[in-house]
Symmetry: none
Subunit: 414 residues, 2 copies
């Protein structure tokens, strides 16, 4: 038996006023998600633990069975690994998640995503890549564009520490945050200084760029600064395949998710139409899952845009994304046998359209195969799945439950 793990980022939600108090999952027409619920066993899952709003990175580590309290060291390394580009993470590197953003001359953040759509991104990156901070001539800053406003950034050199604060506070209309050392060490203080030099330089260079002048004329916010967050060094982790004795592959558009899967040694199944954005081709992902099942024991398939739509306070587009995901699931259900496959469907966390933020409310989960005892749940929603026989489980419970269904667990005791 094989495992298909479908994680739809931030898919669950809170009651939306625009939807008369319903959630996007409740409003969406999703016969195939509902079929998974009907045929399987359902529950709700605290990715980290009750009351803790998960990041996408910590939630995925937990769902893959890697306790994030032990393994998590900041988002940056996963983002850099996710680029899949020329940036190769080396031991000792400090990696960051970075954004193009728009600030005014007083460094007030007007839009922390610079409008999100930045076709000039690769050209703009060239202007600041390779920067050497004046206070640390041995250190190099490497930069790479991933998707939309998103960048991966890497500091390489001596005297570096990841124990520094974020420049990007996750909100607009506030003054750009100065990077500070989070501990009283020389390396943390120096690293914070380098970061501040880099950010200041990015503004000096980008705000003068003709590309941004053109953006302004066209009515788009200029991508005139780079904001950093999630500084981290990569923890040493046993590969997913070795740990569970599975041949594991992944399909994902977003850099962070590619990065986590790569950090765990999963093989990528390339799907060019998987963009990590609203325009992603979920049906192409579904086809790739089915086509590669024979050669794999485990396929992780991630869809990002449900989360992005909620961050953008857009429940209607979130519903559309859910309906696109439903078609993907329909394709998979039509082309696999539940005698040979177990499908787990969940979200890594709840993202509320009302606030645009992650919440700790546990997302629904369905685990479906002909091996499992199903329950009376017939809809894949926040409310209905909570009535299922999986009950309320933790993120780190997911892999053991799946492994047991496919007979890959070891008895404890005799």
């Amino acid at each position: 038996m094989k495992i298909i793990l479908l994680v739809n980022d931030g898919m669950s939600d809170q009651p939306c006023k625009d939807l008369g108090g319903k959630t996007p999952l409740e409003e969406a027409k999703s016969p195939n998600l509902d079929a998974l619920a009907r045929l399987g066993m359902c529950g709700i899952m605290d990715p980290i633990k009750p009351g803790v709003p998960p990041g996408s990175d910590t939630a995925h580590l937990a769902i893959f069975g890697y306790d994030p309290f032990h393994y998590y060291s900041g988002r940056g390394p996963f983002e850099v690994l996710g680029c899949g580009g020329s940036l190769k993470l080396q031991p000792g590197d400090i990696a960051f998640r970075a954004n193009f953003a728009t600030v005014n001359e007083d460094f007030i953040v007007l839009d922390r995503r610079a409008g999100r759509n930045i076709p000039e991104a690769k050209e703009l990156v060239k202007l600041v890549d390779g920067y050497i901070p004046p206070s640390a001539p041995d250190v190099n800053v490497y930069l790479e564009h991933t998707v939309e406003h998103r960048l991966a950034l890497l500091l390489r050199g001596p005297g570096l520490s990841p124990r520094i604060s974020d420049v990007d506070l996750g909100q607009s209309k506030v003054k750009l945050n100065e990077c500070k050392a989070l501990e009283d060490t020389k390396t943390a203080v120096q690293t914070a200084q380098m970061v501040n030099e880099f950010v200041r330089n990015s503004y000096d260079v980008l705000s003068k760029s003709p590309l941004n002048k053109k953006r302004r004329i066209a009515g788009f916010p200029p991508a005139n600064v780079i904001l950093l967050r999630g500084a981290g060094m990569l923890s040493k982790m046993q590969s997913f395949g070795e740990r569970y004795n599975l041949k594991a592959s992944f399909i994902a558009g977003g850099a962070l998710y590619k990065g986590i899967a790569r950090a765990l040694g999963m093989q990528e199944i390339p799907v060019p139409e998987a963009t990590g954005k609203f325009n992603t081709n979920t049906l192409a992902k579904g086809r790739a899952v089915v086509a590669n099942l024979k050669e794999n024991d485990f396929i992780f398939c991630h869809v990002k845009a449900t989360d992005s739509m909620a961050h953008d306070h857009d429940p209607q587009k979130k519903i559309e994304m859910i309906e696109k995901i439903d078609k993907m699931v329909g394709y998979i259900l039509k082309h696999v046998s539940l005698d040979e496959v177990v499908i787990a469907l969940t979200a890594d966390h709840t993202t509320a359209c009302s606030t645009g933020k992650h919440t700790a409310d546990p997302p629904p989960i369905a685990i479906t195969s002909s091996e499992v005892i199903n329950d009376d749940v017939v809809r894949f929603t926040e409310k209905e799945c909570a009535k299922g026989r999986l009950g309320r489980i933790l993120g780190v419970d997911v892999m053991p439950i799946l492994l047991d269904i496919v007979g890959k667990t070891k008895k404890f005791g005799a």
Copy 2:
């Protein structure tokens, strides 16, 4: 958004024979408790962990998010803090919960509460307060009356240890228990000896008092001895307000609950009609909650008598108390907006009318605001709440879940 936490002591129960196998919550007419269930998300909560019958003190610590396995040191310190009288707890003091009780000349406990209603309590206390144990002339015993048969007691001086056994075993018709050292240290042995001297002296003095002669003539059991339990020293705890970044206040009649709230630095909202007894004015409490909501982020409101009625094996009076609590909840629901407030309603533990004891059966909990996804539960009972989407949570999960709803949690990860 603000938080109202309503804890009704020992409100949940087991099936009562007198009620045809129903529980007091099932038999009570409680449309407002049911409204909280209907509008919110419900579950059951193990205050400590499954199968562990909680004390009121450990349960409250857990519900406030302070792991009692780490912070709990005996009930005494909270009882003394709860007096709010002249007894000021100092570092190194050993504090006790104490009871007036009735023993015969063979020290058989006839009534470990001396009839519960003791109007002469303050006069009787004067007879034994300030006692100096003959074996430890540097140690003073300080005593204060709280509510009904209840007292707070404090040992102050050198050579003291809280590692001693209870004199009050929580049952009548047994011989008064001798206090023993729980560890083989000089201080524990000495402290146990002092306690035994104090208890013996309390009998010698109180049994001779004309006040007790009058009680006997009037048909009341004499309050002729003082029983001690819950020896403890106060742990160092970060204040609730600092820990959660909330302005927090409390409303409670019982000394123990005032003591716990004070130990955590909550401000008292004085409600003179909150007596901690059956005659308490729950509506006055409800009015105080509403009137003080503007100036607070968090209000903890405690009602004691549901527990007392169960300890007294009186399901009918427990039902009456639940119906009084229902009116309090009705007042609150009428005067707050669930867009601005989250209300959590629960009990700190189950107290069974049949046995008069705390049990480990997890009490129901409802968490209600317009932010939460409700479920199909429409009655606030032990049985119905167990079907809700909160599932089965722990006491220490309550605060994180509430903080997440009011947006006071920090995302773990990115």
